[in-house]
Symmetry: none
Subunit: 225 residues, 2 copies
Amino acid sequence: METKAKRILIADDEPDILEIISYNLGKEGYEVYTAKDGNEALERAKQLNPDLIILDIMMPYKTGIEVCRILRTQPIFEQTLIIFLTALNDESSHIKGFETGADDYVTKPISPKILISRVNALFRRIQKEDGKILKIGNIVIDPIKYTVVVNENEAILAKKEFELLFLLASKPGRVFLRNEILSQVWGTSVIVGDRTIDVHIRKIRQKLGIDCITTVKGVGYKFDI
Amino acid sequence: METKAKRILIADDEPDILEIISYNLGKEGYEVYTAKDGNEALERAKQLNPDLIILDIMMPYKTGIEVCRILRTQPIFEQTLIIFLTALNDESSHIKGFETGADDYVTKPISPKILISRVNALFRRIQKEDGKILKIGNIVIDPIKYTVVVNENEAILAKKEFELLFLLASKPGRVFLRNEILSQVWGTSVIVGDRTIDVHIRKIRQKLGIDCITTVKGVGYKFDI
DNA sequence: TTGTGGACTTAACAATTACATAATGTTAAA
DNA sequence: TTTAACATTATGTAATTGTTAAGTCCACAA
């Protein structure tokens, strides 16, 4: 199964470090973006919705830890991977780092090789525990908590609505035939009319507020950003 | 193109169900094996490396979901198809099912007919999913997403238009007679006039923006770059 | 029990779209 | 030039989907 390039945001106030890391991660096939201080990091994170954020701890305006704490209060970033860059023997900061919800930390001076292997490891780990939370664009679907978050706002879906959305979003872009939808969401022994699907689709569109479900006339529906 | 018999493993603690399903799938030409609980399912899966595993959710020792989760951690079973059998209104289980990586689920009580059609559909889908995306020159036709991309731009085709284009593009260069087109796209029981094809061809040409369908006067049409 | 509210389904109608065909224009071979 | 074959355009209709409101069912509380 092919996945599209992971997006990484790096925040550090030293241009040299930004460049070295960018270059190396870029070479690995990641899509890399940068920020030069805490405020810019927050801003760009909201724009880009990256899969991983690498934060230097010592940065102007806001430290990495502050940035992390702010991000973690928002549902879209709940799942986002965060790695801290810390000075070698700043013991206290890496403890604080884990407390605020970091996924890993790397000590300076940075070896590109090590950083890359840590980043790869992190993504591999996530892929394994995957299947839990779907994250497509700025939509987060959590089947455990039964919640859908769109642009920071939580939409409250009823059960059938949620299951339908979850099905479509589980394979973005793929068209689901009406039959498939019926058998997957309603089961084979339940018979409901065709309008029922439409009505649920409408409610989902209405509640999410954005247009992410496309009708393919005569065929079915698909989830698309 | 002939393929060898697909291997199916069925795990359920009710012997009657095992027998009914085995009998019916066997009749369809599948190679069928059985297991009567979760542990046996795991064991036999490793021995047999089946193409499809049908798991009852409620089983002694290990539930179907547990079996699935264990299998999915192993690379050999990453691609194996898995279908769950669930009680009709066990709400939570089918979402959990998809989470752990099921490909489909069927509700009990089981109708052999329905199960067979789902199994067949799954194998067909798999066959489709890899390699059915047509790429000719700078045109990409994806029958799963129902999209046509020409030079990075997506063209939106209606159902008949899409089916017609897909037919022609499936064998680039080959001329399709009008009769062939009619029977493949419209079916044998529907009768439409000859002009109908022309009109659809025109719309496709218009929507794609490029000239990729060649008229062979007195014969038919062909797809060409 | 009765009442209330939400989830789900359905019916009825509106809106949209796909489709087939008719009518007419264009092309190319004879 | 004639003519058969195809292209083009316009249009009515049938099929499909969108929308709204109302009804049913069920859970839960008073």
